[in-house]
Symmetry: C2
Amino acid sequence: MRREDRPRLVVVAGSTATAGIEGISAAGADADAMRHTPAADLEILAYGRPTGAPVVPVSPTGCPTPAIVTRAVRELLDLPLVAVDAGIARSTYAPTVDLGGRPGRDVREPPAVPDARKVFDAGREFGASLADSELLVGETVPGGTTTALGVLTALGHRPRVSSSLPDNPIELKREVVARGLEAAAVQPPVDDPIAAIHAVGDPVLAGLAGILVGATETGTPVTLAGGTQLVAAAALARAAGVSRRLALATTTYIAADDGAGLSAHAAELDLDLTVTDPGFGAVDHPAAEAYVAGEAKEGVGMGGALAVAERAEIPMARVHERVVALTDRLLSDRREAEA
Amino acid sequence: MRREDRPRLVVVAGSTATAGIEGISAAGADADAMRHTPAADLEILAYGRPTGAPVVPVSPTGCPTPAIVTRAVRELLDLPLVAVDAGIARSTYAPTVDLGGRPGRDVREPPAVPDARKVFDAGREFGASLADSELLVGETVPGGTTTALGVLTALGHRPRVSSSLPDNPIELKREVVARGLEAAAVQPPVDDPIAAIHAVGDPVLAGLAGILVGATETGTPVTLAGGTQLVAAAALARAAGVSRRLALATTTYIAADDGAGLSAHAAELDLDLTVTDPGFGAVDHPAAEAYVAGEAKEGVGMGGALAVAERAEIPMARVHERVVALTDRLLSDRREAEA
């Protein structure tokens, strides 16, 4: 792939106290570790392994973060990376662009994102500054499918979202969002995307929406790399007046997940959908098996990265090789840390 | 160059009010523009041009920043970059690792770096975290040769430094440093590197020294990429007890500058010296002529980047082509901004 054709990977990271609700997220071994997941994910993207974050981001069952897959593709294609801090709870050694945000609050106690306007505006200016390359925009925020459900509900969409858990705790998420909307006295549909994020979103959604609006203002091509949260970001961008076609690249795990309602959302939001099969069924490794069994599914730009690898005609077997090598090193770091 | 052989470019950026002293620095068109130079340099390294900083970093005569040369080599070799914010005066859209520092004060009014210990410690921890690749460590801090003179003097070295101006205002620098040392009641030689930085250094020297100490603690190979300021960082690392051999890669413009006393410093500090000729005499471009006439000389990792290009057997003509293309775009951005 020629240097000038490589997309720039933009990963927006942040935290929400919503992730601490029992049973909501699998993006970390436990609630404490989950607070470090965005920092660790960014370090994996930047360096190939966590270098400062004191945790190895795996699910409670040991399934490693999708950041590994994105990193593998990044290594194979030398994709440029910009990590964006929209409000992460723990510091990271990954270089970041700081949008000036703070971690989000529990959506049951709105406002979930008191500084939503500020983060959106900072994201918009930053998005407008990135005028040279196609952008591949992803996210890392534990608890983010619940806040995505929140803004989709607030904006009046039919609320369907995915999960990092094999059994989507969708009823719990709906209940959490309903409590938040009621406490915020928000009656869907609301027109104002900032109001939706402010009430029941998270800082990453504020940053993503801002970046989408800014990038489309300057005519920069954008591919949304991910599942439910990127659908929510697209809905926010539409609510903010973005009329250009947008692309969404995700994995078959999301597309096959009835709960996520991906094709309905894509049609409703006018998103060009690319679905890539990671082909993990062919990989003899416990981590691949966990994905096949329905864990993790997507995140940290994974679906978009795989789509770019396919576009660049990188054989999936080469991606797998690198995923396995990175995973084994990650798990060996974890054993060392625990020893 | 194989991916695993590529060094990681680590550029530490910061500001010091010392740069505002009339006649001290050429790292910016004027005093106001100079405050944005570190932010703009990092954006050039990250994106190829300033994307958020409202200035184009050129000297008062229009000579462009050496960041252009480093970026050219980075593009040719896909060098990974980590930009480090040790205390810059203006925000940047380049992703940075934040050492938590603040811009330094005028060395005539010590302490020049009130938080020197904190920044050094943060740099040390960060340096220790970067254990995988060789590091190529550079800097961007307008006024930095004066603060380098400050710490070299404080540590008891014979104070010889370079300049971004063709005629080195060395007497002015000595006077400024002497006033600072007197006001701080510091009697050279001092043993404590932190005390030297605290009195008459700048935040970048605190970050550089910390990173050197941390990286050598974990056995990571380090090449200092630059001139006078990197000599000062090496002197600080030696004062902090680093006994391992260190490499310094710089340009012939610094090596040919009697004032910089490079070989004497290298011998005294046990530095393996690599000197690369940018060959700009062969380039028909006003920017190249300014370098040949003695402007800029070095900075933002330029000498180290050229040494890596030579090691990777990239023909210097390819580097020149890209430098010219990047410079022309930079100057055209500048004309647009002024129109």
